[in-house]
Subunit: 241 residues, 2 copies
């Protein structure tokens, strides 16, 4: 039974963390809002989310539909997919640790969004540029180094070596850290590069995942949406430095 991913069709956004897991595992999935068939497209996705008979309604996209399950929240989707796609270890300790890393990625992603929307999601960036410049400066100077340093420590202390975040095999947390770094390099090329020179394990992991056979194929395909300024990761040169 194919997985159905529901997410905005023109951005990577939070849905990309789910796409990467599905792609890395070569899973059978439908990116519903991007489809042209009957019952597909963004309107169909949103209608599904707001159906009044949905007993477990997601708060927002992305959400995954699999059989009778409808699951929202990126990290919860990965918690569900991880064991099914072979992208997490078998022990409870390994699963909780992988999830803990994922939740920290989630925290950074939320802070990235705040850099261009520090006042309100309902306003345009242009309406909060002054505050965004201040927020982005603190994010670049304090938060990017602090977060990347933590991920670097996690890699350095992995008893199986610094190849992957957890144990000796790739997990969804590695894919998510790849995506986070990729997004930071897009949105804050100067600040991200600077931080990565001090976090070599993270920089190496980013390249390693990009070179993963299935991922490399996905990243080169037109299934990978290009970064753009409607996404969470936006390249506004005035926010980098």
């Amino acid at each position: 039974m194919a997985y159905e991913l529901h997410y905005w069709p023109t951005i990577q956004g939070r849905g990309e963390f789910v796409r990467l897991a599905l792609e890395a595992a070569h899973a059978d999935y439908i990116d519903v809002a991007r489809g042209g068939a009957k019952g597909q497209g963004v309107t169909a996705s949103l209608r599904r989310m707001s159906a009044k008979d949905l007993v477990q309604p997601p708060f927002a996209p992305p959400f995954l539909v699999h059989g009778k399950h409808t699951i929202g929240q990126t990290a919860a989707i990965l918690l569900y997919l991880g064991p099914r796609l072979g992208l997490v270890g078998k022990s409870e300790a390994s699963r909780i640790w992988t999830h803990q890393i994922q939740l920290t990625v989630t925290d950074v992603v939320a802070e990235v969004h705040e850099t261009h929307h520090p006042i309100a999601t309902s306003l345009y960036y242009e309406e909060q540029k002054v505050e965004a410049a201040k927020r982005a400066r603190a994010f670049r100077e304090q938060r990017i180094p602090k977060f990347l340093n933590w991920f670097n420590t996690v890699l350095a202390r992995n008893p199986s070596g610094p190849t992957w975040l957890v144990g000796a095999r790739i997990s969804y947390a590695d894919l998510s850290l790849f995506q986070l770094v990729d997004g930071l390099l897009y949105a804050f090329p100067t600040a991200a590069q600077r931080a990565l020179t001090k976090t070599p394990h993270v920089a190496a992991l980013h390249l390693r995942v990009a070179g993963h056979k299935r991922l490399a194929s996905y990243l080169a395909s037109d299934r990978r949406i290009a970064f753009n300024e409607d996404c969470i990761f936006r390249r506004y040169p005035e926010l980098d430095g």
Copy 2:
């Protein structure tokens, strides 16, 4: 074996979501940073977190130590504790749904923090008051109603009735929603009351959890730290309305 909770000793903060679960289940636990015995106190907690031989270092407090496990991230701690404390259902579907609700509470808590720190965590509130006033207005007018409305819908659609968020028994998500509402009522009394009049299932759940026998006893004890302006939920009258 007692659970060890490590968190800042003078605030409710994110640690309170863990305390509520431990208290509701009458679990044997030590609030390490608040203890006066040898090996306790906030310095001991922080030393534990930054130990160089810690293979799975938490990013920040709260973290839980249980036997050989050290677990950070509030939602991951609850994912671990839920089955052990009988505060989540047995099926995978029920556990993922409970976690999904918890992650949405996490999102709101992060946004509450942003209302008084929209520019930088490293600055004082007084240094970002102008921006905080704007951010808090958007949070009050748009975000509080939107989030509480979602929780109200979850309760209204629960096939077991609107008593609890998931199924027919209390879960850690109920405790967390209680804490969220309690914090909103402290920080934004006017705005939270206004939203709660339109989300009666949420208002009722808040009272129901407050009346839960073990919780009521905890809330009346000196183990419950009072809300204060070092916490995530801060009462700054100029941010309410």
